[in-house]
């Protein structure tokens, strides 16, 4: 067997996410690529949290329903998840808080008391029990604990030693030949690194799941990157502050989710009219309204491409996993500044908060700003008309020149006007700029294809559905087509990617097939739809059953 799944569950507030990361680290240390799915309710304490860790011989960003190891820190975990155990799977539980038939109870309470360890070390205890049961060498476990546990290393090690000593190997997870060890990154962290590589100098955000951890990550490392990180009064303030900062010469991004983005749309439209660049990391979670704050969906595609009054160009990219998030966040920043437009990095909770081992080779080189500079001749006009609609950029102070930006319809200098000819010319300038952006984007790998080029059936998908689709399609010889740029919509590249297909199946995590509708507007026919709108990601079993229904 080449892959393994482990589920660890307990009550919210007990460090389950961290425990999941430690398990990832252990399995990565055994030579596997790893993926972490973290499922938690919107509360601070109580409620049920669990993580599913999947270890495989190639990079993965999808989970299975069935698991090989079930680690239960409370009764609810056993009751909810026992059915997921594969035949021959191993149940390990805390024998103090869990009462069940079968499985192996671990004396966590006794050992915690013996070594006077804090309650949180219970997680380390069950992880040690797992390590022993999976035949992972003590040295590997000790190394991971020393690296991953921030506080109380000695007491955690004492707990681990105690639990490890009383266990035995129940199901060996064989170590693989050691490749390079990569850092484990969440999508939020990968997005942050991509933005940093793209030249980010300011990050402004109001906390909102699923992008709060991007704010935390950048705030934590602000000094290292000489980054200005600000958390203002609300998302209206966020967007407007970002535009002020960009006018002043900062390369700035904001982060939010749908509800916060509702408040930003006023500023987004200002960015369109005033031609001020900004990158918006929009993490999707189920709505309408507050919806399911800590779960996932793909419902903001049409919102992102049409938000804000008026018509103005923008860029929307939708990465599928941390590697793509890193790459495309840098690209979004570069293009937003070059074309002086808003650029969206449209992610969702699964991408943002899912974690995987990450090959640093995927981080693009840090590039200098790509804005078109002013040639310094004559009098500067912020909106000087040019062939491609991109006016040279200047931030004050420049002696002898004034930089006037304006939310009103304006002339080349930035002075308000109601003149019909100037009004029409300004709109045409915005359209030309959009066309120039589309032309450059067309030269990028906007639509990614995986699987046999002659496959008659294609799964058309985007964002976090992509990796599950690729795995399932592999079993049926199908092709997967993922537009990673969603606006300007890469219709030609998509048509090319779908050529030869006589059956196109849209796979999306929403109830109205938003990508399929966008494709339809370009005359691209989608024959079937596999939709999921319960907030949970497609598991491989889940998706396979659905694909079998429509594609078999």
């Amino acid at each position: 067997m080449s892959e393994w799944s482990v589920l660890i569950g307990g009550r919210a507030g007990e460090g389950l996410n961290k425990a999941g990361m430690v398990l990832c680290s252990l399995l990565h240390g055994q030579g596997y690529h790893v993926y972490l799915y973290y499922d938690y309710p919107s509360l601070i304490r109580g409620g049920h949290n669990f993580s599913i860790i999947r270890a495989a011989q190639r990079p993965v960003f999808a989970h299975r329903d069935r698991v090989d190891f079930l680690l239960a820190l409370n009764q609810e975990t056993v009751e909810r998840h026992r059915g997921r155990l594969r035949e021959g799977g191993v149940l390990l539980y805390d024998d103090y808080s869990v009462h069940t038939e079968g499985g192996v109870g671990l004396p966590l309470e006794r050992i915690l008391r013996e070594v006077q360890a804090p309650e949180i070390a219970r997680n380390t205890g069950i992880i040690a029990g797992f390590s022993c049961a999976a035949g992972i060498p003590w040295e590997t476990l000790e190394q991971v604990i020393r690296r991953e546990i921030p506080r109380g290393i000695e007491s955690n090690l004492a707990v681990a030693r105690g639990v490890y000593a009383v266990g035995s190997t129940l199901r060996q997870i064989p170590g693989l030949p050691q490749g390079r060890r990569f850092p484990l990154l969440t999508g939020n962290e990968a997005t942050g690194l991509g933005l940093l590589a793209g030249g980010l100098s300011s990050y402004i955000s109001y906390p909102m799941t699923p992008t709060s951890n991007l704010l935390h990550f950048l705030a934590q490392h602000a000094d290292r990157y000489r980054l200005k990180v600000v958390h203002p009064e609300n998302e209206i303030g966020v967007m407007l502050m970002a535009l002020g900062a960009a006018y002043g010469g900062e390369r700035v991004a904001v982060g939010t989710s749908g509800g916060g983005f509702c408040l930003m749309t006023e500023g987004l439209s200002l960015a369109g009219m005033a031609e001020i660049p900004v990158v918006i990391v929009l993490g999707q979670r189920p709505g309408p309204s507050t919806g399911l704050p800590t779960y996932s969906c793909q419902t903001e595609l049409h919102f992102a491409i049409s938000a804000g009054q008026g018509e103005f160009p923008r860029l929307v990219v939708a990465p599928a996993n941390p590697a793509q998030a890193c790459l495309w966040s840098a690209t979004a920043l570069r293009l937003a500044w070059k074309y002086q437009v808003p650029g969206f990095v449209l992610v969702d909770k699964n991408v943002a908060e899912g974690a995987a081992d990450f090959d640093p080779a995927g981080i693009p080189s840090a590039a200098p700003a790509d804005a078109v500079p002013w040639n310094g001749k004559g009098t500067y006009g912020r909106y000087t008309d040019t062939g491609d609609g991109i006016s040279p950029w200047l931030s004050p102070p420049v002696p002898g020149q004034t930089v006037k930006v304006n939310s009103y319809t304006h002339d080349g200098r930035g002075i308000s006007t109601e003149d019909p000819v100037v009004t029409a010319r300004l709109q045409e300038k915005l359209l030309r700029k959009g066309a120039a952006l589309a032309a450059e984007v067309a030269g990028l790998p906007t639509v990614l294809s995986t699987g046999p080029a002659d496959a008659r059936t294609v799964l058309l998908t985007w964002g976090s559905c992509t990796d599950p689709c690729i795995e399932v399609a592999g079993q049926y010889g199908l092709r997967v087509v993922q537009p990673v740029v969603l606006w300007p919509f890469p219709a030609d590249a998509l048509r090319a990617a779908l050529s030869g297909a006589d059956r196109v199946v849209a796979v999306e995590q929403n109830s109205t097939a938003q990508l399929a509708r966008l494709a339809a507007a370009e005359g691209i026919r989608v024959h079937d739809r596999i939709l999921k709108y319960d907030g949970r990601p497609f598991s491989l079993e889940d998706l396979e059953a659905r694909v079998r229904e429509v594609a078999a």
Partner: protein, 282 residues
């Protein structure tokens, strides 16, 4: 554009007798005077909201960000954050700063960000043709409240004082020399400077007779005394007639927000090295 006069060739569309002319004249005079004393003109950035006041961005030949209704403070905050050496002057209306953007005003004061905020407080919506604002007196008859408002005005200076502003003043458009003195003081003050300027609206709220009768200049007042500032600010509540003090109520020095963000950006090479070092640790 004619840098010598600081006035652009944009056609002026304020009503005859509008108080905005006074504020424009005062602001322009102060900027020119400070420029003659060494302030580089290119470091001045004017941020305006939306409303009659906001046309200042078209009329003054300085860097400007003609923003949207209510959002002057966050835009100006972003500019000051980007470059703490800029002199950021905000012109905002009373509808702008006290209604649509009140949260931003309070937070800008709370942060003590280095901005000079001039509120064109004519106590009526002019551009939308005559509705009440947060500082219209109780009972004000506007087009949205034909029987008179049933909510009292609030006192903006009291709000900003409570929020943490470090320079608070009140001016009046018919007291030009004093207005210039206040604007100069506000620009020189490092921190959040706030001037509530009583301005008549020639078309919808011309109450100059009342202001002429009730305003007086603060004298013998210690602007370093918070309690004294609070008392003087509360003398008039913007509803009932009472003596209306003009001048600087409060002025104290505190570290301003943008000073904490004075950073030299990394070069691409430095950034790449920082990312590599970071991932080595991860």
């Amino acid at each position: 554009m004619t840098a010598g006069t600081l006035i652009t060739d944009a056609r002026n569309t304020w009503c005859p007798g509008c108080g905005n002319f006074s504020i424009q004249h005062a602001l322009k005079s102060v900027i020119l005077e400070m420029a003659s004393e060494g302030l580089p003109l290119e470091k001045v950035v004017l941020v305006t909201g939306i409303g009659c006041h906001a046309k200042m961005a078209d009329y003054l030949d300085v860097n400007s960000f003609y923003a949207i209704h209510g959002r002057v403070m966050p835009v100006a905050t972003g500019i000051a954050l980007a470059n703490p050496d800029l002199t950021v002057v905000c012109c905002a209306g009373d509808g702008d700063a006290y209604a649509e953007g009140l949260d931003h005003l309070i937070f800008a004061a709370k942060r003590n960000i280095n901005l000079t905020v001039i509120i064109h407080n004519n106590r009526v919506y002019g551009l939308t043709t005559g509705q009440y604002t947060p500082t219209s007196p109780l009972g004000f008859r506007g087009r949205s409240t034909p029987k008179g408002t049933v909510e009292a005005a609030f006192n903006p200076l009291e709000l900003v004082l409570a929020s943490g502003g470090t320079f608070l003043a009140r001016g009046y458009t018919r007291k030009q020399p004093m207005l210039q003195t206040l604007i100069r003081g506000a620009i020189r003050h490092r921190g959040f400077s706030f001037i509530d300027v009583l301005q008549i609206c020639a078309t919808y709220n011309d109450i100059h007779e009342m202001y002429d009768r009730l305003t007086y200049s603060l004298e013998g007042h210690n602007p370093g005394d918070f309690d004294a500032a609070c008392r003087k600010i509360r003398e008039w509540d913007y509803n009932r007639e009472a003596p209306i003090a003009l001048g600087t109520f409060y002025s104290v020095d505190k570290l301003s927000f943008e000073e904490r963000f004075r950073l030299t950006p990394q070069t691409p090479a430095e950034r790449e090295a920082a990312i590599r070092a970071h991932l080595e640790e991860a």
